[in-house]
Amino acid sequence: MTTPKPFAPAARHRLMRLRGLVRKEWLQIWRDPSSIAIAFLLPVVLLLLFGYGVSLDAKDVPLALVVDNPNPDTMTLCGHFERSKYLRPVYFVNMRHAQQAMLRRQVSAILRLRDDFSRENLQRRGTIQLIVNGTDANTARIVTGYVQGVYARWLADVQQRRRAFPPPPIQVQHRVWYNANLRSRNYLVPGLVAIIMTLIGALLTAMVMAREWERGTIEALMTTPVSMGEVLLGKVIPYFGLGLGGMALSVAMARWVFDVPFRGSMLALLAGSVLFLLVALGLGLLISTTARNQFVAGQVAIIVTFLPAFILSGFIFDIRSMPWPIRALTAIIPARHFVTILQNVFLAGDVWPLLLPSMGVLALMALVFLGLSYRKSPKRLD
């Protein structure tokens, strides 16, 4: 785009145009219930849904106990299971009944104590049989861990009481850092902030820009002395504000509704959010340069930004357990870097060596996307 020198509009005019565009955008946001809903209602609904509804923790998992030969040893072991807050023992007289219960999904695992349990156990050759329903792999792994934990504690107890054997030479003392109670909410909720800001930044921006094309208002805009840079900026500024508002709302809810710890600094959070928001806005604008109706723009924005943010950002699914091509792919997903920043800032504190590279990548992406959408928006209809 060329701006000829003799008619170069004064900076004052430029400011006037920009102010006009921003004001217009605010008025439109304010009067359009759907953009208010996406910016404020959706974050609340998503947070409540994920904060309360979705939990990756296993609690009160029904465990079938089949004791072939009840004796004091099995009694104390069962007592340990009863006291576990993660497991809920259900007693069965034989394996056949227990298996039927598993088939009907009434129990998630079966623990069998054979009639030689006491004898074998005391000879330190003790084996117990654990059958786990592997349909839900995640729960299966957790249940296995819980059962082993309970069993280990019971064993230690017995040994201590009887002093029959010297204590084992090495004892594992485990501590969970950053999320001591292993509450999945603590890392889901910060990750959600990334999803919410993707929605506001990319989806909303792509749709409102497409709306200008759809309703033909862009045609009238383009015939005024306004430059496309101003038009784009006129979109970026209001939605930037809206995005920060959505973030503040989400962070406040995370902190005070869901009791997610916040160990980092506001500065780090703000820096990361600003950078990510710019990336999302850039993506939204870039989408709208090609998709010129709202429906297509919305679909593209969901597929290109929202879904990857959900699946490939490490928000729910651990990136390290993905096969390497997909792991490599996540490097170009902006939300992945933002989720890293968020989980750090919330749960670990300001770990700058970890934060800075992620912020650097986001800054680069913001530059690329915003630059590309400026380059791809000539002030012409054809």
Partner: protein, 601 residues
């Protein structure tokens, strides 16, 4: 309307470039699409528009009017040639030129969720109008457009005419040197159209604004100082309206016969050799012939006696039809005969044969009454027209009549069926052609026809016969394999009509069938309607072209969801008769009705 220009530059050569040139095009070509689908919107177009005055751009659909406007506004770049606007090359200095022009696109570029004042302020900001100048300028614009009482109203809640005026006001926030208006009056009621013209004319005279305006209404071309006529991307002619009229001087006549209705006479005249155009005009048929010798009564209407023929002064439209027929030559399809052999015209039904009975019909959307209690009846074999501006409630009424939209109140019987109770029963007996044609754009013409024939449950021999009928009667055989989305508007309209008539309905609803069509296509369309009515089919049709009302047996004028008048076109026309205006037009009557309506509010 008197001309401001002494003599027009008829040569169209760009050589004589006066200093007072507002727009100059040299060998401009613009294409859309690539490869086989390339369409040349403009081809080697050279023209010059002087400063001052109002220059009109007319031409049939697809002539390149909008492309020309957009090129001049710097919204598009031409593929070849040079566009110079206000002495600056638009490809190089677009931003600078845009600071000196005002432009109103066809969809007027208003933000519907912003109020009138907010829209004005936005465009003032964008055009860099200093704040201290605004109150005065806004007041002047609001007073001129009559929008002052509605400053706080959202633009989306304005009527069609008011939206157009606001769009115009936004283009005029800063006095532009050049004002580009792309079909500013389409779909607007006739009074608003006159008001818009008054505003444009006032700016042209008081502020010396050069105006370039495209229009689909040929009577508006007559109000311009100069007219450019485009066809298929080329400049067909240019000159003052008077120059255009001279082209058909002495070849325009009107005829009538007490033996035939104007419609019957028109159908007969159109098929005669040497006849370029025949249109209805009150009780007469207006005829343009290629030479005066073809204007004899015995040539135009052989076997009809008595026939009155008298010469009349030409209008712009007559010249337009003449130039277009000369340009398109044999491409113009000959007169149409839709009537099937053997199908005799059903005797004009008795008054008791009412097929549509509407009583106090109402429809509400939110707190807005789109239709506020209307009553009328339509008889078998009648052509019933519903006239009104955009947003008057025509389409809503049609949708209720077709059982597509439940009414909020009132009773309605179509083909003897209560549409509120059993719409499905009536649907097999009605055909509906919606405004947007409802064709499958990615299917070919034949595939569309097959689909609709099966959707209406046609089978076997009858289906084959109807498909054959559609291809023949609507002259679609040559394009049977083409995707319907690729067809010109005129073909799409024919195809849509064929689809709506596939199952031989008793009643046909046609919603704005002629909107966006050029005069030639519109004439053909009405011939088809005529032929249908002759077969005893009842036709309901909406339009915003006033002169088309003449083609109806009876008509209703709809204003803001209410019927302002229901009668024959002749009686409605005569409502406006006065000593000063002994021969009023339908438009005069419409304007009187709107004035009365506005006074009531």
């Amino acid at each position: 309307m008197s001309s401001h220009l002494a003599s027009p530059d008829e040569s169209g050569s760009p050589g004589a470039s006066a200093p007072g040139t507002a727009i100059r095009l040299r060998g401009v070509s613009k294409r859309f699409g690539r490869g086989e689908r390339t369409v040349w919107a403009l081809e080697e177009l050279s023209l010059e528009i002087p400063r001052g005055g109002i220059t009109g751009v007319v031409g049939p659909d697809g002539a390149g009017k909008t492309t020309l406007m957009r090129l001049c506004a710097g919204l598009m770049r031409c593929d070849r040639g040079q566009v110079v606007v206000l002495d600056q090359d638009i490809t190089r200095d677009a931003a600078a030129i845009q600071g000196r022009i005002g432009y109103m696109p066809q969809r007027f570029g208003l933000y519907e969720d912003l109020s009138v004042a907010e829209n004005l302020n936005l465009y003032a900001d964008l055009q860099g109008v200093p704040r201290h100048q605004r109150p005065e300028r806004f007041q002047m614009l609001m007073q001129m457009t009559g929008l002052a009482p509605f400053l706080g109203r959202l633009a989306g809640k304005l009527s069609g005419g008011m939206k157009q005026k606001l769009g115009l006001a936004c283009a005029l926030v800063r006095s532009p040197e050049l004002l580009l208006l792309d079909e500013p009056t389409v779909g607007v009621d006739p009074l608003s159209r006159r008001e818009l013209w008054a505003i444009v004319r006032r700016f042209e005279q008081e502020e010396g604004t050069t105006v370039l305006l495209s229009t689909a209404y040929l009577d508006e071309a007559q109000r311009c100082d100069r007219v450019l006529m485009l066809d298929r991307g080329r400049l067909l002619a240019q000159g003052t309206p008077q120059w255009f009229q001279q082209q058909v001087q002495g070849r325009v006549f009107r005829i009538r016969s007490p033996r035939l209705t104007p419609r019957q006479l028109q159908a007969q005249v159109l098929g005669r050799p040497g006849v370029i155009d025949a249109a209805l005009e009150a009780t007469w048929v207006r005829v343009v012939v290629d030479s005066p010798q073809h204007a004899r009564a015995e040539h135009l209407a052989p076997g009809v006696d008595p026939v009155e023929v008298e010469p009349i002064p030409p209008r712009f439209e007559d010249a337009f039809m003449e130039l277009l027929s000369r340009d398109q030559g044999e491409q113009r399809p000959a007169a149409i005969n839709v009537a099937r052999s053997g199908a005799s015209r059903a005797a004009k039904a008795a008054d008791s044969d009412v097929v549509i009975q509407v009583q106090d019909l109402k429809r509400r959307f939110g707190d807005f009454w789109a239709v506020g209690g209307i009553s009328f009846q339509v008889h078998r074999g009648e052509v019933f027209g519903l006239l009104g501006a955009n947003g008057a409630g025509k389409t809503t009424t049609f949708r209720m009549l077709c059982g597509l939209l439940p009414p909020s109140g009132g009773t309605l019987r179509v083909a003897g069926v209560d549409m509120r109770r059993a719409p499905a029963q009536a649907r097999a007996r009605i055909g509906y052609m919606s405004q947007k044609f409802s064709l499958y754009r990615t299917l070919s013409v034949m595939q569309n026809l097959r689909f609709f024939s099966s959707a209406y449950g046609l089978r076997g021999r009858r289906r084959r016969a109807r498909l054959q009928w559609a291809l023949e009667q609507f002259q679609l055989a040559e394009v049977a394999g083409t995707d319907s989305g690729q067809l010109p508007l005129g073909y799409q309209q024919r195809l849509a009509m064929a689809c709506a008539l596939m199952h031989e309905p008793e009643i046909v609803f046609l919603d704005e069938p002629t909107s966006g069509a050029d005069p030639v296509a519109r004439r053909q369309f009405w011939q088809r309607i005529n032929a249908l009515a002759m077969q005893g089919v009842t036709v309901l049709v909406t339009t915003h072209f006033m002169e088309e009302a003449q083609y109806c047996d009876r008509m209703a004028i709809m204003i803001d969801g209410r019927l302002a008048a229901v009668d024959t076109p002749e009686n409605i026309r005569l409502m406006a008769q006065s000593p000063e205006n002994p021969e009023p037009t339908i438009e005069d009557a419409f304007i009187q009705l709107i004035l009365a309506h506005r006074k009531r509010q």
